[in-house]
């Protein structure tokens, strides 16, 4: 009886030590592999107004993903996420038609990001921006 309880106690100690050792190995390895904070920070992006002439689009990185800034033929500015809402490809700006085309499965969006045709279920996400002294600040 005494022997078996000692055996149990030692077994528990051994298990505890083993668990602690496993934790001490897994924790650093997990930290090493985990995506690093700061690599996709929510920093604001500043683009000079003259970089986006009428009817053109400018692609850039925002919050770790692709985004696009367009000036329509009428002169209005629009900032959108460039990530297609279907399966995440990056949309292309069709300058002639003033539309976005997703090359993956042919999703078509207007310049405002509303779906015209194809599989995308939702419009492209709009991004907030401000214009000041010839600079466009997104975010």
């Amino acid at each position: 009886m005494e022997n078996s309880s000692r055996r149990k106690f030692l077994g528990l100690c051994l298990g505890g030590v083993a668990a602690a050792a496993t934790g001490a190995v897994i924790y650093p390895v997990y930290q090493y592999l985990a995506p690093q904070a700061g690599s996709s920070s929510e920093k604001k992006v500043v683009i000079p107004e003259k970089d986006v002439p009428e009817g053109e689009a400018k692609f850039f990185e925002f919050a770790g993903a692709s985004a696009v800034l367009i000036r329509t033929r009428q002169g209005g500015l629009i900032a959108l996420s460039a990530v297609c809402t279907h399966l995440g490809c990056i949309v292309q700006w069709e300058k002639n038609k003033q539309e976005f085309l997703c090359p993956c499965h042919g999703g078509l969006y207007t310049a405002e990001g509303t779906v015209i045709s194809g599989p995308p279920p939702k419009p492209l996400a709009k991004l907030p921006f401000t214009v000041e002294n010839g600079n466009i600040t997104i975010g």
Binding site: P28, V29, Y32, L33, A34, Q36
Partner: protein, 367 residues
Amino acid sequence: MTLLKRMYDWIDVRLGARELVDKELFGYLLPRNINVWYSMGSILLFIFAFQVVTGILLLIFYVPDSEKAFGSVTHIMNNVPFGWLIRMCHVVGSNMMVLVLLFHMISVLFMGSYKRPRELNWLTGFIIFNLVMGISLTGYLLPWSQLSFWATTVATNSVGTIPVIGQYLVEFLRGGKLVGPATLGRFYALHVAVIPLTIAALVGLHLFLLERIGVSTPPFGLKDTKNNWQSDKFRYEGHPDGIPFFPNYALQDMTSIAVYLAFFLAIVFFDPYLFFPKDAFIAANPYQTPAHIKPEWYFLANYQTLKIFPSEFLGLAVQGVAMTFLALLPFIDRGNERHPLKRPLFMACSVGGILLWIGLMIWGHYS
């Protein structure tokens, strides 16, 4: 518990797992007078696995490009969480691998375990030893520090003393006239793919031979220490009245690994830069040779030998002869006696050889 048992039953019915365990673990009997030196191989297996794991982790952030390699290693050390730990484990582990390998070989030497019928065990082990030196040498270049660059320059240069083909061989090793981006590319391929795969295959062969021939009996504590092998036909050397591998010797293996880990972690945490001269922290500069470039400790004896001979070729040839002699030792030393104290000539030569090696190493360090 019953779930575990049912899973085991499921496997047992299909693979005969119980029979395998009974035969290979409980039924695998080892000589009664087996000692702690027989666990060096298990420690080495552990270290090798550990190097593979830390190496794969380092591959995630390392960039094998001469422009970026040093920066990527610095990034691992300074920015990646626990990157320093992973790298230090890999560096210290490589040194410990060589050290434990030397212990393994020396114990095999003194216990006469390399003798018939185990010539092939020795030979495969000796090749693994050379490959481990090779993997250390190629890995040394990868951080692309001043130390890496110039140590590799010196090491590859020594091949050039071979007559006729030497100069071409140096260029072939380097992929160019000098150590440069081309050298990094080939050393990288050797270090992460070619040599580790070859080592793994040879370790497999080494273990197969061990299993097939049977474990040798240590010569200590016995009246008869002769080698009684007969060469008429194959016989498995069993130990019918021995102790089981599991749990008895497995416990010794675990203990040895734990003791090893204690030493290993003590270095990693208390003296991590033990194996780092300061040139290891400066990016490689092909236009500026630092003063006192020295190889790793286990190459110091080779380095010093090259220096003391009047001609470099002679220095290289002596080392070639010594290594060939060691590789072929079981075919040269064919005596039946296995106890080291009953082999005076062997004792004198091996102790002398080890002292010479250590002496050259110290000389090389201070010269």
